[in-house]
């Protein structure tokens, strides 16, 4: 399971933070990056996020696969934005400066290029932090931290159950799919799309029926142990807060405050150098 979520066990200040702290920081950070389109703030967030990697002792090698994935995604999205609305930047910034003496629908404008730069920066402001979170947070601690930040414990327990059963269901899916393929069900590219969907459901039916049995068994076992009787419960993976936890939350909260202040000061979510 740890493999699946790319958790890398190491000893570092970031690993030592409690899961709840990291979750709160992730929320504050993403909110900060989400509200503002201010180039300066996004640049600071991007640099800060990347600078945290050595602190967490995570190398480029550890996340290279995910980075590639994200880069492809980013390039595709950037091209799409340009293809669909080459004048989005002009609308956002209110001016129109054609570059290289060209004009027409697809001619590059300074505003559009600046908007796209911001768009890319926005990715770089959030993605390193999420990657870091994924690499340094033990999935088992995740449910405990959800409960700590105020999510009701039954819902947190659902999250814990999901994490617990993902590997089991994955294994079962694999087994059923191999068994079906041995009986001649085609899932590869040779079959047509509709045909493939039909074959997929031939695997799904046994998988889901056995999962329904699983639900029955687990809920019976939990009811026998009086789950949900008390108002609170304790978590094996929960840890107490330390000084560093409070400091990190404070720093991330500060970033959010800066982001909101900048939005108010700029009068919009964008930083406009064209005025």
């Amino acid at each position: 399971m740890n493999n699946l979520f790319n958790y890398i066990e190491k000893k570092s200040p970031i690993h030592d933070l409690t899961g709840a702290t990291k979750l709160v920081c992730l929320f504050l950070w993403s909110l900060a990056a989400m509200t503002s389109y201010d180039t300066r703030l996004l640049a600071v967030l991007a640099v800060l996020g990347i600078a945290l990697f050595p602190v967490g002792k995570i190398g480029v090698k550890d996340v290279s696969f995910m980075l590639w994935f994200t880069l492809v995604f980013l390039v595709l999205n950037t091209i799409l934005v340009y293809l669909f609305s080459p004048h989005h930047g002009t609308e956002v910034y209110g001016t129109c400066t054609y570059l290289f003496g060209m004009s027409g629908h697809f001619a590059p404008t300074a505003e559009q290029l600046f908007f796209q730069l911001n768009y890319i920066l926005k990715y770089f402001a959030t993605i390193p932090f999420v990657l870091l979170f994924v690499c340094t947070t033990n999935p088992s601690e995740f449910a405990a931290s959800l409960n700590k930040i105020g999510v009701s414990y039954s819902v947190s327990y659902s999250v814990a159950l999901a994490l617990r059963y993902i590997p089991d269901i994955q294994k079962q899916y694999h087994e059923i799919s191999q068994a079906s393929q041995a009986r001649g069900i085609e899932l590869s590219k040779k079959a047509s799309l509709i045909h493939r969907l039909k074959s997929a459901s031939a695997i799904l039916v046994p998988l889901i029926l056995s999962s329904m049995d699983r639900i029955e068994i687990i809920s019976n076992a939990m009811e026998l142990r009086c789950f949900g009787k008390n108002k609170k419960r304790t978590w094996y993976m929960a840890r107490p807060f330390k000084a560093l936890d409070y400091i990190s939350i404070a720093v991330c909260a500060l970033l959010l405050v800066i982001s909101i202040t900048l939005t108010v000061v700029n009068g919009s979510r964008f930083y406009n150098p064209f005025k």
């Binding site: 994935f69 999420v130 039954s154 819902v155 659902s158 814990a160 617990r164 493939r196 039909k198 799904l204």
Partner: protein, 183 residues
């Protein structure tokens, strides 16, 4: 909020795990980024139909969150929330169906499919693009094209897979009054 029953809690957990496995390992990419030909919505519609709107919403939310999370591209909140909305809507539309009592006839199939189609349209053509515009200030026509493509593909996959699963499940359950006293 009404207290969740233990069975619903477990159903949310297992449903989210199934949603994750199907979405993460069985996805077929489509030409438009962000949108996979994803069979997990058939499953989500089924979970919502059997266990109700809260289970549907939370299973979608948790499952989709974990998918984004494990890819590491950042959690795309607008789409995660749209998944939850879809689960919730299907749950509401299918409240009257008694799937867990083994009843899923022609009428049930029609209700289920109309319900899922409407829910998909609301989730992907309204909720996801609007949130994309509000949160990320993306150009409107790009997100609407992505949303409409997603909605069409999801309606087709849910219609095929969701219906098949529901029929199979309802057949596996003995119907009320299916036992007769022998003379």
């Amino acid at each position: 909020m009404k207290k969740l029953s233990v069975k619903t809690i477990v159903a949310i957990g297992i449903g989210a795990a199934l949603f994750f496995v199907l979405g993460r390992f069985v996805a077929i990419p489509s030409p438009v980024p962000n949108t996979n030909i994803s069979i997990q919505y058939g499953l989500l519609a089924f979970i919502a139909a059997v266990f109700g709107p809260i289970a549907g919403a939370l299973a979608g939310l948790i499952g989709h969150f974990f998918i984004d999370f494990s890819y590491g591209w950042g959690v795309w909140w607008s789409w995660v929330i749209a998944s939850a909305v879809f689960g919730c809507l299907v749950g509401i539309v299918t409240l009257k169906l008694k799937l867990d009592e083994g009843e899923f006839g022609t009428k049930g199939i029609i209700t289920f499919n109309i319900g899922q189609a409407i829910s998909h349209v609301i989730a992907w053509v309204v909720v996801a693009p609007v949130l994309d515009i509000l949160m990320y200030k993306e150009p409107a026509n790009k997100v609407f094209v992505q949303g409409i493509t997603g909605a069409i593909i999801n309606i087709i996959t849910t219609a095929i897979i969701g219906t098949i699963i529901c029929i199979a499940y309802s057949k596996a359950i003995p119907k009320k009054g299916s036992l007769k006293e022998e003379n």
